[in-house]
């Protein structure tokens, strides 16, 4: 045991060491996680479903193989939470949508296969915004998730359940997906580490599609080393995803050197203010302090302006809904999921009733937006124009990377907002992704790491953005910063409430 901390509060690499030395078993770790889940899940609601039988069998297998003297991969026996967007063979997968309720995929996503082969233990499927469309997890058809640092606030989204599960020590690590910030923004709001790899670095096979040219798979973890270990599991070419990249996969843990001397870092002006509106003062201060810290550690920090980033929101909210309107055409009540059972309908009526009852408001809004943007007479004005401006955004990044090795800024303009605060105003919700969206448009790797706390004790995340396939530089800078600070060591803790229940709220 490491100090007085319970096993579920340790990082994956700490647990990996204990497991390798046979000081603990996968079963004991799993039991510690279930104990925490039983304590706090009623308040946090990170999971849509737990897979206790699957997990018990996986943990037992790891323990048996280790007892038999087998050398196992580093993360064998580490409990993992999976966003409900990953197809998991014979385990219900809903994407937090009524339209997929009861769907049991006949196959595993590529990354789920990789996690199984590496001996990770599946705790369950986490809550999310329906079809990953949202920034607060409030668009789930099956209830909201609460931020473990303050139960009245959102965990961010769309991978809100995955981030909350790690932040509340209800999982050791988790998997999210990121189309416009859905790993990084919740990681930031929940004070954990989240990494969106370069587009194509990780296979999307078996990941329920939202916007195919933007979607990317990645880990949410307690620290940077865990993130590197997860990337070792996930990255690599998969022939079933024609967009996956052939490039060799490094051992990402070798990038974890406490060394940024001479690293050229650009602080992106447009991350600090979008169209002239600055991020919240506390967030801006934390980022400037983080930049100063990196400078003290030997990096060269300078401000840089990427002017076309000021158009990221309209570009994204044309391209993503356009792609979504096509991807979501498959939910028609024929092959799987919900079907309206009204008698005497013709087939078009059946489709329309099914989709009306099966999809939530935000999903419908985006399907409408995308269908309109692609419809006859409007394609050039919207989709083509947005795709051209996307090129200009990418060129701005390419130019910046001639001068810098890494770009930084805030992950989100604010800390976690209150539940219900933005649900009535879709445009205000869209603007909370203003710093993360450009990175998806450029196909670049991005990361969120804890870099401070607000006066209210809410976590603030620093955004790191690398060149295409620049994950190692990003991880090295993240690791160096993390090792010189202790923001990542603070955890949301359960406390006894007055009515005798347990709630998770931040300590200290």
């Amino acid at each position: 045991m490491s100090g007085s901390r319970a096993l579920n509060e340790l990082t994956a690499h700490e647990l990996s060491d204990l497991l390798a030395r046979r000081e603990v078993s996968a079963r004991e770790i799993l039991d510690a996680v279930w104990t925490r889940i039983d304590q706090v899940e009623g308040d946090v609601n990170a999971y849509l479903r737990q897979t206790r039988e699957v997990a018990a069998a996986q943990a037992a297998e790891v323990d048996e193989r280790r007892a038999a003297g087998e050398k196992l991969p580093p993360l064998a026996g580490v409990p993992l939470a999976l966003k409900d967007i990953y197809c998991t063979k014979d385990i219900e997968t809903t994407c937090a949508s009524r339209i997929l309720q009861g769907f049991r995929p006949p196959y595993d996503a590529h990354v789920v296969e990789r996690c199984r082969t590496n001996g990770l233990v599946f705790l369950g499927k986490t809550n999310m915004d329906e079809f990953a469309m949202g920034s607060s997890t409030e668009n789930s058809a099956f209830g909201v998730t609460h931020n473990p640092w303050d139960l009245d606030r959102v965990p961010g989204g769309s991978s809100g359940g995955s981030a909350a599960s790690v932040a509340g020590s209800e999982a050791i690590c988790s998997m999210g997906t990121d189309t416009g910030g859905s790993i990084r923004q919740p990681a930031s709001f929940c004070g954990v580490v989240g990494l969106k790899p370069t587009y194509g670095r990780v296979s999307r096979y078996g990941v329920i599609a939202f916007a195919s040219s933007l979607d990317q798979v990645g880990p949410i973890t307690k620290d940077v080393r865990d993130c590197a270990l997860m990337m070792n599991v996930l990255a690599g070419r998969d022939r079933r995803d024609s967009t996956s990249i052939e490039a060799p996969v490094p051992d990402y843990t070798e990038a974890l050197l406490p060394e940024v001397k001479g690293l050229r870092i650009g602080l992106v002006k447009e991350f600090m203010e979008y169209q002239g509106v600055g991020v919240d003062a506390e967030v801006g201060d934390a980022i400037r302090s983080a930049a100063a810290r990196l400078q003290e550690l030997g990096a060269e920090c300078q401000e840089v302006s990427l002017t076309h980033l000021n158009y990221s929101i309209p570009v994204y909210y044309i391209i993503a809904p356009a792609e979504a309107s096509s991807n979501l055409a498959r939910y028609d009540g024929v092959q799987y999921g919900y079907r309206s059972a009204d008698e005497g309908q013709d087939i078009i009526g059946m489709y329309r009733e099914t989709r009306d009852r099966g999809f939530g408001a935000e999903v419908k809004r985006r399907i409408m937006l995308g269908t309109y943007a692609l419809s006859a007479g409007y394609y050039d004005a919207y989709y083509l124009k947005a795709s051209q401006v996307r090129t200009l955004i990418r060129r701005d990044f390419d130019r910046a990377f001639e001068q810098f090795d890494l770009l930084i800024g805030p992950v989100s303009p604010s800390v976690a907002f209150r539940l219900g605060e933005k649900t009535e105003d879709p445009l205000a919700m869209y603007l909370s992704d203003v710093c993360t969206i450009p990175v998806n448009l450029g196909g670049l790797p991005g990361m969120s790491i804890p870099c401070g706390f607000s006066a209210d004790g809410l976590p603030i995340g620093m955004h790191l953005v690398g060149k295409p396939l620049g994950e190692e530089t990003m991880l090295r800078a993240a690791y160096t910063f993390e090792q010189s600070t202790d923001f990542h060591r603070r955890r949301a803790q359960p406390v006894e409430t007055r009515d005798g229940r347990c709630a998770v709220v931040a300590r200290g």
Binding site: F103, I347, R355, M368, A386, P468
Partner: protein, 95 residues
């Protein structure tokens, strides 16, 4: 106003969505405010700029045509809301 309630209804039909009266009115307002925000893209000169359709330059990714196992009919049908004789069953399509 760019979108009228009638156009919203037309788009809903194209998208195979059915909107109630209230939902149609709400979407008309919301979609118009979003489209208005998009208008700023028209200020940018994009003449001669190629559209970006992919984050990584890749073209003609081909693989060998080697047959492999695929889902059995039972597996493919296991989630179907309605099926008959090894097929998905749908409401009448032809009159």
């Amino acid at each position: 106003m760019r979108l009228t309630p009638e156009q919203v209804e037309h788009v809903a039909l194209l998208a195979r969505l059915q909107l109630g009266e209230e939902e149609r009115a709400r979407f008309t307002t919301q979609l118009n405010s979003i489209l208005e925000h998009f208008e700023q893209l028209q200020q940018i000169d994009t003449s001669g700029v190629p559209p970006m359709s992919h984050a990584v330059p890749m073209s003609n990714v081909l693989r060998d045509d080697d047959p492999g196992p695929s889902l059995s009919p039972e597996e493919a049908l296991q989630n179907a809301p309605d099926k008959a004789r090894g097929c998905f069953r749908v409401p009448r399509v032809l009159e």
